[in-house]
Symmetry: C5
């Protein structure tokens, strides 16, 4: 279940920098994948055992270590030690309730943000925290569960497609961010399609179930927005604090992905505005139907209530009611009723109610 | 069909900088128009064949190459190569779902924004992405479909009207931007007229169809706003990063068009506020009518229900009902009814309900 | 008629800087008024003929040329030529749909903003565009129609009242701005009075006509706001770009009028908030009345419907209805009815509905 | 009466800097109070006559001249002349419709803001404009009416309590500002109490009179906010432009009062949010009651209308109605009615309406 | 009781810097706890007597003096004197109605903010003001009541856990802030859980009691927000003005807690948006039910009112009503009624009302 506010109770009263896992355990043993490459070759190794981490400066080329599953604090602490990470970073990696942001620790940059995936069975968005460490010649990435949006990136590294093998660790980090932000567009497309379906349903038959779908989507949009907005700030900070860890070439690419993040936010806001507009449309259409229903009730009631009264009047059993004896009494009453009804109709017509 | 969120699925998993066309194909073969001019002469050539592009520095004067139709990635790649464009720019030109922005690539500036046209048959706004490359002595422009707002500009170049033949490529770029922003005003005039029609309809007969028109216009306004807002930022960035590509004279003109873009945004916001006000007016007028209808129902019902009860009372068939035998029973009951009705009317009068 | 979005269609496809009149023609022939003064004397000339404009540097003292009526593009072009104005300025002066702003052209400053006047016959605000050119020793002002808020200023010049004859052209420009901003206060007073009248009407008898007045005032407030907000920015820019055209003394005065413009905006926002509050008050008071009406209906209906049913029951014509034969049947039914009615009343009382 | 927009019509067409009193006249003759003090002694003089003002530099210590009543423009002009005040300052002091702000005139600082007092008889806020001139060794203060929040300050000066006699004119100015801002807290406490009373009334019996109190309070909050917001900016400007007129020590105190002004704004916004929340609560509680009333009506009507129809059916006088002759006809009809009623009740139960 | 606006009336008319206690008295005698530690040892002393305060520079290591209970102004004044605190600081410590902020007094920093605790018996948030003085080698903390969120911190100092004994007073101050901000997350979790419970209740049975819970939670959120927002600014100021009192290491930690404060604000805003969404959901669900109820009423009434009229017609007692004598009159009327009812049903069906 996705709680609105993540449970962080394990952290209360702990000394700052204490590595405590905060989140849900999705798989038994963490999975460590190490990819090392330079222009000429690329190797990939995967293990669920506790590996010995070799610091990057002992290697040439680019090293990318990815860990799926964060509950094993010791494993991640040993990785952190090999790469000389600050205790605060370790703490933040293990805490899966972080707000997307970028921190500069001098030797390396720490980035954290949300990776989204469309859960097509439940028709909703699934979020997962991804942390990145970008150092000199290495990228460390930390995910909560296996399965990610980096498959095609791994393939590009393995097959040497594109420029990736020719570029440094900063380009790799950019590619990871780019893949995640691209996935946001995919999610937005899904949401956009759902909205379009609702929009056309709204024109055909607005019912209360539709309303629930709109409300659910609004809630989803709220969470989506909360993940997307800080990414822009994160990318902005990244460019500012990047220093020598980022080459000018990669900065150009980062500016591009920054533009995409702005577009994501823009689209989310537009979708939210559309949803708000649809709610308005729904409410006014419900209101319109209600008004029509009420008008019919009023029409029927105001026509027949006076007529019924007249009928009731001559249904009284008084001994002395001269009209009852009249030859044309019945006809006269029928005529009276017709006049009253026409009068009413005329009045309604004049008032343009119907 | 205009999707709310453009489909970009072709881009997922692609290496950054890969030229992939994202958008709809509007015409079979792209149309390449090359206009070259200096103060003394102007030539124009048009071809649907794949031309050989001659880089600008090999020419004198100003070269303007315009391409209608972006689905032929190879054609555009060959143009990009001739002019030494960065792969990211190529990717962005082919992706028709960009948010308006301006990027500085040193040798050239990349601008992208939305060109609007009023689709008078469907009474709605049609958007099309236009990308501009402003380099030293050349302007490249990329459009999704044939047909644009540059006709009079081409004529001015051909006939040497105005200052255009005496100015450089930066002035040409300004003229293109100016023509597009001017078209926004034309669109806003159309929208303004539609709003005025609705406004006067609203005063005469507010019905649910009118409501739909308002809602549709609000949605249109949302998309309009989304195209217009970033143009201001784009022009701002353009002036800042323009460097030596922009002369002081052209900066003056750009400041002018910047002022126009602010005015466009201003007008859009005012139109949106007017629409919101009209929705309020509609809702309160519907509410007022409903209240009137309900009042009539209440009036009729509260007058006649008690009278009907009295009539019903004396319609009972009890053997022993002394009033029925009275000589003036009927008259007394009629009098009682008149009194009840007048009492009611008096009460309503006092309460100022009618 | 005041269009929401001004018609600028005459401008489409024109080369930038082409002088095209955009607006309405209010008088046959433009009226040119030239006032020249220094500390010792002041002359005023008025002509509807096409005068020869003598550039300011050929004169001593301060020259103020005012033109009422902008449709004669040639006249204004000849003035622009005499004073060396940039084509863009000429274009902007002729276009009466400008957003208030201030542009620095080095030799002179260009200012444009809206002059408001209260149209007391139609009880609404009338706007007119005023453009000012402040150069070294001269001020040019352009208005759409004759009649303005500068009468007392002209008198002060003629009679040498106040400091104006001792000061330069910048002080004259300040005086013009000050007079226009002061008029905003007068308008706001009018609007404030109208709001107060509505407010007291609202307490006495809220009807749908009142609602219309509120809505109309809201719309008026929207247009008022649109004219007033940019004036603050204009004055801010003016102070920044003023350079040597403004003396320190006049800057002090401009800061004062800047403070006034902030106050105007502030007051507009407060009036808008008050209007919004009045709308809320209106809606809740209408709602309250409706609820009262509905309660009476419910009261009457729920009391009498069951009673009528009982009466109807004993109005049935079954042969075998033992109660009808009872000696005290009628009395018993009346007692039953009284009980039902009291029970209902008691229930309503307990529920505190009445 | 407190007009929404103050009447400034006396100012129209006047030359800038002309001293014109704009406001209401609260007392016959202005009251001039002069307090002079240094560390060793303090003198206080009060006169309603036109005194001769002795400029501060002719005195030692601190001079504080306070004027209650601003309609005597000549008196204030003579004071302004003695202290060398700019005509614009004189004009601003006499205009009681100023927005709170701070202006730097080199030799002295001009501050204007609103002093609030709780009018306990009318249960509303009373505003009065206070202008301060802080110069080297003197403070001039201008109030609209007698009676202020400075009583305890005067006493502190007279009795030499606290640090005031040891400090300069800047500290005196700070004390005046502090006293006024402190009074805002007192007002907010009053408003807070009123809100709490309304809040508890809302829980007990929400009626339309309560609604009026909320609306009135909202309006009051609007005016309160308009007085309080600019004070923050004023204090900010004061610190920036203070120059040598403010000592470091006093700047520390001003930062403190700045903090208070932020807190005042904060509290006002919270109160406004609370009021908005209360309006929502009121509206939904009224809505709830209405819904309950409507449900009872529907319940009664839907149960009895069919029953009445059946009764009416057998009240018809057709000669040939076989059921009427049946032995158990009456009983059968009663049973039918019971069945219909139970069916209805069961349906309602199932739908969970009651 | 928690007043909306705290009562500060004790402060009116006091000289600035006068130490006056503003708040509620929670315990008889203030409790003074002194903790002194360096890397090798840690001592803790607690007394309710008036202790003699030894200034920090006379000690080595870090001194932390905590005072619970602020009503004894003399005690705190004597502490303030020992540590050379400015009178304004003393005044602010005693005033428990401060807005969170940070002030730089050169030798020391003054911080004040709200510590929250979840009052589980009343299911609401309890706030308490905490003031911190961070000087060279010492931290002074001031709380309104005993009981705080620092228990685990004290333990860490006593047992030498973590890095705290190796670090300076700035790290201690950071730990205090961190503990308080961490508690905000705990509170938000509680609120989040309450919201989730309401959310699921909303789906099952929306009633007016639920509405009250939502409104109460909104009010709680308002107060929560008011405490949380300024903490971000406070931390920002702290980092800027910290000077030499903060080491680079601790600045890193403060940046981390700053990130947390941003996340707290973010979460509060999301919760507020969720609550607003729930209100909307509630209102539309209530509206839907109401509409259904009204439809049933309309259905029943519009079917049976015409039928009842027909029955009433033939219940009239006119002597000459030919239909009554007809052999198949009764059957014909029944048929007519069936036709009317079916017609109505068919009409409703066609209009898709049911």
């Amino acid at each position: 279940m996705r709680n609105i506010v993540a449970n962080r109770s394990g952290k209360r009263g702990q000394a700052p920098g204490t590595p405590v896992f905060v989140g849900e355990k999705y798989l038994e043993t963490p999975l460590v994948t190490t990819i090392a490459y330079d222009e000429s070759r690329a190797t990939e190794g995967q293990t669920a055992d506790r590996p010995k981490f070799i610091p990057s400066h002992a290697r040439s080329g680019v090293t990318w270590i990815n860990i799926d599953g964060l509950h094993d604090a010791d494993l991640i602490a040993s990785l952190a030690k090999s790469y000389g990470l600050h205790p605060l970073v370790l703490e933040d990696i293990l805490n899966t309730t972080q707000r997307p942001r970028c921190e500069d620790y001098g030797d390396f940059l720490y980035l954290t943000f949300k990776m989204l995936r469309w859960d097509s069975t439940q028709r909703r968005i699934d979020t997962e925290q991804v942390s990145l460490i970008l150092g000199d010649g290495y990228v460390l990435s930390f995910q909560e569960k296996p399965g990610d949006v980096f498959t095609s990136l791994r393939e590009r590294i393995a097959k040497g497609k594109g420029r990736i093998r020719k570029m440094g660790a900063d380009y790799l980090a950019y590619c990871l961010i780019d893949a995640i932000v691209d996935e946001y567009f995919a999610i937005l497309e899904q949401v956009g399609e759902v909205i379009e379906v609702i929009e056309s349903d709204l024109a055909v038959k607005p019912d209360s179930q539709l309303l629930q779908r709109i409300h659910r989507l609004k809630r989803e949009g709220l969470l989506l927005r909360r993940s997307a907005w800080p990414i822009r700030d994160m990318l902005n900070t990244l460019e500012q604090v990047g220093g020598t860890l980022l080459t000018d070439e990669v900065r150009l690419y980062l500016r591009d992905v920054y533009g995409h993040s702005v577009q994501v936010i823009d689209t989310i806001e537009t979708l939210r505005d559309l949803l708000a507009g649809m709610l308005d449309t729904y409410l006014s259409s419900v209101n319109n139907r209600m008004n029509e229903v009420m008008k019919v009730l009023t029409f029927i009631a105001t026509i027949f209530i006076p007529l019924s009264f007249i009928a009731g009047l001559y249904g009284m059993n008084f001994r002395h009611m001269p009209e009852l004896e009249w030859r044309w009494g019945y006809a006269a009453v029928l005529a009276l009723m017709a006049m009253v009804a026409s009068g009413m109709l005329f009045y309604f017509k004049k008032k343009k109610w119907f």
